[in-house]
């Protein structure tokens, strides 16, 4: 109960903070709509002649584009970036004296941000689906739908772990935003946020799949689209679990060592 109370309060406060500057929030959502529309028209254009492209039907590609918009809102949060600023500017000290885990606090804060984005992303997708008259692919296999949800939950955990770990670089360097930027862009592409990764040449695809990022958006959507069978889905989920576990262990080590270096300068 105490756990829900503390972190529930963090969630609610973060939710309210997200909606404090509504004009800025709306502009932020418009950004996502622009990206979604761009990708939609690219794939529609490419499937105009034959109705398929690179082994995907138009419905699958459109489902991928709109699915990415929803998954992006649910998985890719930005609150963990604030950890870098907090450590560099000394604000992190305030969290150390709070009776709660900083990792969990950051997670629930990010969850609040993502919940709002998720709700608005659903509305955006529904609106544009109506306006554009799109046909989605609907997964009717119960097992694959379940595996999709499990993979999605793992993707949320995996992204948070990776993002939080990168932010802990701030313990060692005041210049952690640059590496963060590099991480964000590698993740954007290697996670399949712009296109299905299997359109890449085989050698590039093998390299990308060796990284943990493909498990963040590409894998859940491949499971949903049925392009991966139950066996492949379970393997993918186990890989997500593996990467989340490894990253979590590194976070534990980095946290302990980082705290020894932390001086709270800037307060």
């Amino acid at each position: 109960m105490m756990l829900c109370g503390k972190y529930g309060a963090v969630f609610l406060i973060s939710w309210q903070r997200e909606l404090e500057y509504r004009f800025n929030f709306v502009l932020g959502r418009l950004r996502n709509i622009v990206t979604m529309l761009l990708l939609y028209f690219v794939w529609v254009s490419l499937t105009e002649k034959t109705g398929t492209f690179a082994g995907y039907s138009r419905a699958e590609l459109i489902t991928y584009v709109f699915g990415i918009n929803i998954l992006r809102s649910l998985i890719l949060g930005t609150q963990s970036k604030q950890v870098v600023v907090d450590i560099n500017e000394g604000m992190f000290s305030a969290y150390l004296v709070m009776p709660m885990s900083h990792v969990l606090r950051a997670f629930f804060s990010e969850l609040a941000q993502r919940s709002i984005s998720f709700l608005t992303a659903i509305a955006e997708v529904a609106l544009f689906a109506l306006l554009l008259g799109v046909t989605f692919f609907v997964q009717r296999d119960g097992l694959l739908a379940l595996l999709f949800l499990v993979s999605l939950a793992m993707a949320v955990a995996l992204f948070f772990a990776l993002s939080y770990l990168i932010s802990l670089l701030a313990f060692w360097s005041r210049e952690a935003l640059g590496p963060r930027f590099l991480f964000d862009w590698v993740l954007e592409f290697a996670s399949g946020a712009y296109f299905p990764l299997d359109i890449l040449p085989a050698s590039v695809l093998a390299l990308v799949k060796a990284l943990p990022f493909a498990g963040i958006m590409y894998l859940p959507l491949q499971i949903y689209l049925g392009r991966v069978g139950p066996g492949g889905a379970v393997t993918g989920i186990l890989l997500q679990l593996f990467w989340t576990g490894i990253t979590s262990l590194i976070i534990l080590v980095a946290w302990k060592r980082g705290l020894r270096r932390y001086t709270g300068e800037g307060m």
């Binding site: 004009f23 990206t35 492209f53 210049e175 952690a176 640059g178 590099l182 590698v186 590039v204």
Partner: protein, 261 residues
């Protein structure tokens, strides 16, 4: 004019000093930009493994759209990066100090943070544009190159106007960080040929949010697939847009009230 050139050079020297004192950050940003650029080139190359045209354009023509978008995007970030600090200046009241300086506050705010890494990044982009244009037979004429350069210049004028409007909006609505990022996101529309979009969308992004005017018109002018009316439109639009942005900036300055300083 000479005064402002000297000021710009001095601000650029100071900015370069900042970059060298934060070498890890800026090296990472530079590599991140290269990664982003490289990934999109790989994407376009991958798309053309499965098709021989995109909205009627060949691979090299599609790449030229992408490279032109990059050229304008990188130029604007290199020259007008100061706009990203402007919100903070308004919030903290630092803009008061800018207003007290014997230099135009708009010029100072826009150009105080010239990004040398972006200027360096322009070199491979220009080289690739030259190589790509060489691979397109229709572009082997002086008129194509002059039209391309001329339309690029008009595009940069419109981009300047957008940055000025962003600064004005920041004075009115302090928490409007996403305005400039919305522009950056909208610019990505220019990565691909505009014919992939439905006609109403093309119209919106030509007239209302003039991304197609900024990015696609230079390429279409070079390929001579755009008629003179639209070129004249681009010229008049650029001039009027800049005048409007300066008008809005003037109004915003009158409304400015310091938060604290």
């Amino acid at each position: 004019m000479r005064k402002y050139c000297r000021i710009w050079l001095q601000l650029t020297r100071l900015a370069i000093g900042t970059y060298f004192s934060n070498a890890l950050d800026y090296t990472s940003y530079f590599i991140g930009k290269l990664v982003r650029f490289g990934f999109f080139l790989v994407l376009i190359g991958s798309l053309f493994r499965f098709t021989d045209s995109l909205a009627g354009y060949t691979k090299h023509e599609a790449v030229l759209f992408f490279l032109t978008f990059n050229f304008i995007d990188v130029c604007s970030q290199a020259l007008f990066r100061g706009i990203y600090q402007f919100r903070r200046d308004i919030q903290l009241g630092n803009f008061d100090f800018v207003l007290s300086k014997p230099v135009d506050p708009l010029f100072y705010s826009l150009s105080r943070l010239t990004d040398i890494t972006d200027l360096v990044f322009l070199l491979p982009i220009v080289a690739l544009i030259s190589w790509t244009m060489n691979a397109i037979p229709a572009l082997h004429s002086l008129s194509s190159i002059l039209l391309y350069a001329g339309m690029l210049f008009l595009g940069m004028i419109i981009v300047l106007g957008i940055h000025i409007i962003s600064a004005s909006v920041t004075i009115w609505q302090v928490e409007s960080e996403n305005f400039i990022w919305l522009y950056r996101e909208a610019m990505t529309i220019g990565r691909f040929p505009p014919e992939i979009y439905a006609a109403p969308i093309q119209l919106i992004f030509t007239v209302v949010i003039p991304i197609i005017t900024i990015v696609a018109f230079p390429v279409k002018a070079a390929l001579q697939v755009i008629n003179g009316k639209w070129l004249a439109f681009a010229l008049i639009y650029a001039v009027l847009f800049l005048r409007l942005s300066l008008f809005l900036w003037g109004r915003a300055l009158k409304k400015y009230s310091s938060a604290s300083s």
